[in-house]
Symmetry: C2
Subunit: 655 residues, 2 copies
């Protein structure tokens, strides 16, 4: 700092503010909350010397002037804490301000002087000067009171007056602190506030073309409307549809991903674009835009959002290929570079070239696809493979869309390396797919969900758990029978407040892979129409409805911050709890990870943390099975049978 | 980011760089190193998709153009690592750059295609185009080689040519990567590089006025020169003098801090300033500027730096009081506000008012005091109570001084709250006083030194340990006898590569406090002249020389990063080691914390980490006692007697 730097600084700012939390990557990215949630901010705040410091938490909707202010309180060791509630969707800012408080310092020291009987005549005059300094900031009655106090402290009875009115004087002066030399963290930190469904949502994925109830007839949006009552009854509030656009013909894949395609094969919805249109068009056999509007409206009546799948890739027949050849990479033979995972080739798919010199136009057009559907009333997007598109694009795109439609939710379908998945969440994705689908053991689940919910990751990454997807029929569902389906359902629905199922095959316990050692479904809906029979006796519909009711009725299951794992003496039994601070709602979940045989064991609950005294009985009601037990003490016996019910969702209440 | 923001970004930069370490407060403050040390940098580096990424570590002296470049290597999980050596005093910058490497990606994929026997004719032409793209960056032979390669890859024997010369082609192309869309962390991080004494220094504090060997005669710098051979023999390389300025008369304190002052009382050197001058003047009875120059020169000949104490406070007689009354706070009665710790008053001391509207002039003048003494050849300053001066001032002041005298060392004498002490180190102090003086137990010492040496603190905070100071005769030295002095000396000298003693009373085992329960020395040199007798039989001089020789001869003891504590089965015995990577020098220290009685116990050494096989004998040589033992196995018996030698400094060598 050379002498000219003096121009830029105010040397009398004496307070240092460090380590403001929460913050993602030093404030480079926003933290996330939903409407009604609290942001608890801590920071190190201190000044040189021994003067009294005052700190405040400042917050405001981004783009507005002036700050709302909350006092912070010291926690010891120069750490301070304050909190505010976010009650409006959009981007909010927060920061910390602090200053050396001359009046409070004077006040503290005067007390010590009086206590030892020192002559404080001059000190009272110092106080009078501080009061005088505050007066110009006040008006009305306060201004009059301050002038009175100044005279009283200066007068011959200053000490008597001070001692008689110290509390009132202090209260008065706290309203007019001298903040000329306050320090303020700049730039402020950002919190993106989403609607509640960003935090608590229950997804059902289906292929609308299989909604006709007849595998020989292409289903439509209108058919899909017929499904809504059942989905609502089961407690789902997001209906997620794979891409609804026209499907390419060139290199179209046949049933079971066959490179030979029959004339009546419907193709993969992810081979996007044909002569009928691209990412802004609707597959003619699904219906019209009016039909989509009808589906969206009917769903909304039942509290269900329709979520669209946006996959940024093109079939060779996509209009972009002719209209914007510069958005694709060209091979030396003049053809367009198809997708590859060498040596595998996916000739039915053209990826966009994010290194095109025309990247600005590409970014605008891709963003415009979201804006197009948002204008049709869609507010949830599941984004296919975002990790194969440029990071910078997502920050731009999500920012643009949320600037216009702040209630939009983006789900990142990135099954890739952890830091890439986290980066996408930092850049703006509202929710994210996870490794849950492949996390099988107690140790794996404990470690992974501790990282997601108990570290800084929880400030920006909202997990959305899927026991299955159209791409993934995990091995445990192939071989684990109904027990596996139930355990995985309960885990997904209780470990995370956001979860979903690829519904029809999950409900009906479909477990056949295309081939052994493969996670693809046999006769996958990705490549053919299916008809589903929900009439089987062991259908999971009733259980799913019960699980989702437990989620809806228990605030503890509607967020993840309180998740804690508890000791069990059996490695095949996992036990954890969630608790809601506001209302004391407390849920204990016990799940068997043995899908074939009965498991027994003791779980150990942290009763002390929950305010349950040793020896005091408490009640646990199984929201799945319906029974209520009276327990006493931390250690309790459980028995879980995959042939009956391999999981408990206990609500704990004091007897 | 709205559309206009497109102007500011390059959307084709696809690599993300996160979590660059080391960094202090997200790069807000510099890390510290000394000349010849290594900076090992790690970072998360990754791109979207599956392309190959290349990362480099960039570094340069601050203010120079262009970067020196070091390749980084992947550690797994997208973490990368690189390192560089700092070989020049001053401020250096470092950052991380990375890019998607199209050629390396092509190279990797081509191998997979060839492995399965795919037709790669077009792929070879893609490679040829990449080689063609690199050619304009090359010149001479490389340019010719690149043109040759382009033709070969395009030609009919492209695959044969590729397979025959792949290693050479790769080597060639690595010299010309396409970095148009490279990402670079900006702003860069800063490392302050100090001279070696910043890391490894051995301080001796004395009052030059007590150097006459006669308590009735005021000592001088010339007397002080006579002490140098003894100090050099004992192995000290910093001679630290309390303030050398004229001492105030008004409210001067008498012997033992008596408010009554006798006519011949010399006063406290920290009551700075009299009619003879202030912070830039020398106390006339100590000598002249020439005498100081003579002392500095004589010390330098023996490798000793003279360190001055700079205390920013004034006696009422300081010339500043009349010349710059605006730099002090005025009381309502027109007098100047003296120092206070209510209800205590220190009327002999006027603090500066860092909230003065004239703060710019004050900052300049105080900085000029350091510049004044630096111009006299002083390069080490021990700063008195820096925590009672504005933080911003220190950042400015140290920056200005080091810009002109980059080899300057500032020691922060801040005994205050931890975050304040750390802040001062972040702002630029080279070394810092610590809580060592009061850390007594094994648990306390282990916890504290683990924090100082094994966390992020070590990047900016260099501890300097003092068993005693003129202000602190800790209780254990009052009551612990010689054993306490030896144990505390060995702890200070081996836990930290920087340490010091307030020499004369420490050497002579002075242990009488002014009064019980007080840490002040009886007949403290702060208020009176003393004469010291180093002829006593139990004088610590020889032991101190032995300890300092061990430090000088063992690189392991010259830094702190390798400090590790080891298990002992006796809470009164502490054991730790330091190891020097470069030469394998390995030191194990064992110290008794029982100053009165013998202690025995087993220590447990991590032989595996040191590459000593189980069952292999190794030698330990006690650098204090002189004996050599042959040990075998991790557990070894020690016996420490405070009446003989309550500590070992073992050098470990493989037998």
């Amino acid at each position: 700092m050379d002498s000219t730097a003096f121009q830029a600084i105010e040397g009398r700012r004496r307070v240092a503010i460090e380590n403001v939390q929460p913050a993602v990557d030093c404030g480079l990215f926003a933290i996330k909350r939903t409407v009604g949630e609290t942001v608890t901010v801590t920071a190190d705040v201190f000044a040189d010397g021994h003067d009294v410091v005052t700190a405040v938490l400042l917050h405001r909707p981004q783009g507005t002037d002036g700050w709302q202010e909350v006092p912070m309180t010291p926690l010891g060791n120069d750490r301070w804490r304050g909190e505010f509630q976010v009650d409006q969707i959009g981007r909010h800012e927060y920061t910390v301000g602090a200053w050396v408080d001359a009046f409070e310092s004077w006040h503290r020291d005067l007390k010590k002087r009086i206590d030892v009987g020192q002559d404080v005549a001059i000190d009272l005059r110092i106080g009078a000067a501080l009061v005088e300094g505050a007066a110009p900031s006040a008006s009305g009655n306060d201004a009059r009171l301050l002038r009175d106090w100044q005279q009283r402290l200066e007068g011959p009875q200053g000490l008597v007056a001070y001692q008689a009115g110290v509390a009132k004087l202090d209260q008065l002066m706290r309203r007019y602190p001298d903040r000329r030399f306050a320090t303020e963290c700049d730039p402020p930190y950002v919190v993106v506030v989403d609607r509640e469904k960003a935090r608590f949502s229950t997804w059902y994925e289906l292929f609308p073309r299989s909604c006709a109830g007849d595998a020989t007839r292409h289903g439509t949006f209108r058919d899909c409307i017929e499904w809504l009552p059942r989905l609502a009854d089961m407690g789902f509030d997001v209906l997620y549809l794979p891409p609804i656009h026209p499907i390419g013909n060139t290199f179209r894949k046949g049933k079971n991903n066959n490179v030979e395609c029959m004339p009546d094969d419907v193709g993969s919805p992810w081979a996007i674009g044909a002569k009928e249109g691209g990412h802004k068009a609707i597959h003619p056999r699904l219906g019209t835009l009016d039909d989509l509007h009808a589906l969206v409206a009917a769903a909304r009546e039942r509290g269900i959002d329709v979520a669209l799948d946006i996959g940024f890739q093109c079939s060779p027949d996509h209009p972009y290929v002719n209209e914007h050849p510069e958005w694709f990479r060209k091979r030396p033979d003049g053809t367009i570079q198809y997708a590859e995972n060498p040596p595998k080739k996916y000739q039915d798919i053209y990826p966009f070239d994010f290194e095109t010199s025309d990247w600005k136009a590409l970014w605008r057009e891709l963003t415009d696809i979201f804006l197009h559907w948002a204008a049709q009333g869609i507010r949830i997007f599941r984004v296919d493979n975002p990790h194969t598109k440029a990071f910078g694009f997502w920050e731009y795109c999500i920012g643009e869309v949320k600037a216009r439609y702040p209630d939009t939710i983006f789900l990142s379908e990135a099954f890739t390396r952890p830091k890439v998945m986290y980066r996408l969440a930092k850049l703006g994705f509202t929710q994210s797919y996870t490794y849950f689908t492949w996390r099988d053991t107690k140790a794996e689940l404990t470690e992974y969900f501790t990282e997601l919910t108990q570290t800084g990751v929880r400030e920006f990454f909202r997990p959305n758990l899927w026991p299955n997807t159209p791409d993934i029929l995990p091995e445990h569902l192939q071989v684990g029978g109904r027990g596996a389906f139930v355990s995985r359902l309960v885990l997904a629905a209780t470990l995370s407040s956001n979860y979903g199922i690829y519904g029809p095959p999950f409900e009906t316990l479909e477990n056949l892979p295309r081939e052994a050692g493969n996670e693809e479904y046999l006769n996958s809906e990705k490549y053919q129409l299916r008809a589903w029979d929900f009439g089987r006796g062991d259908n999971l519909g009733t259980l799913i409805a019960t699980v989702n009711r437990a989620r809806r009725e228990n605030p503890a299951l509607q967020s993840n911050a309180s998740l804690r794992f508890h000791r069990t003496d059996n490695e095949r039994i996992i036990c954890y709890s969630k608790r809601s601070d506001d209302d004391g709602n407390l849920i204990v979940v016990v799940v068997s990870l043995n899908y074939h045989h009965m498991e027994q064991g003791f779980i150990e609950l942290p009763l002390g943390e929950w305010g349950i005294a040793t020896g005091q009985p408490y009640q646990v009601t199984d929201l799945l099975g319906g029974q209520t037990f009276t327990w006493q003490g931390a250690h309790n016996f459980v028995e879980l049978d995959p042939r009956k019910l391999p999981a408990h969702i206990f609500r704990v209440t004091q007897a």
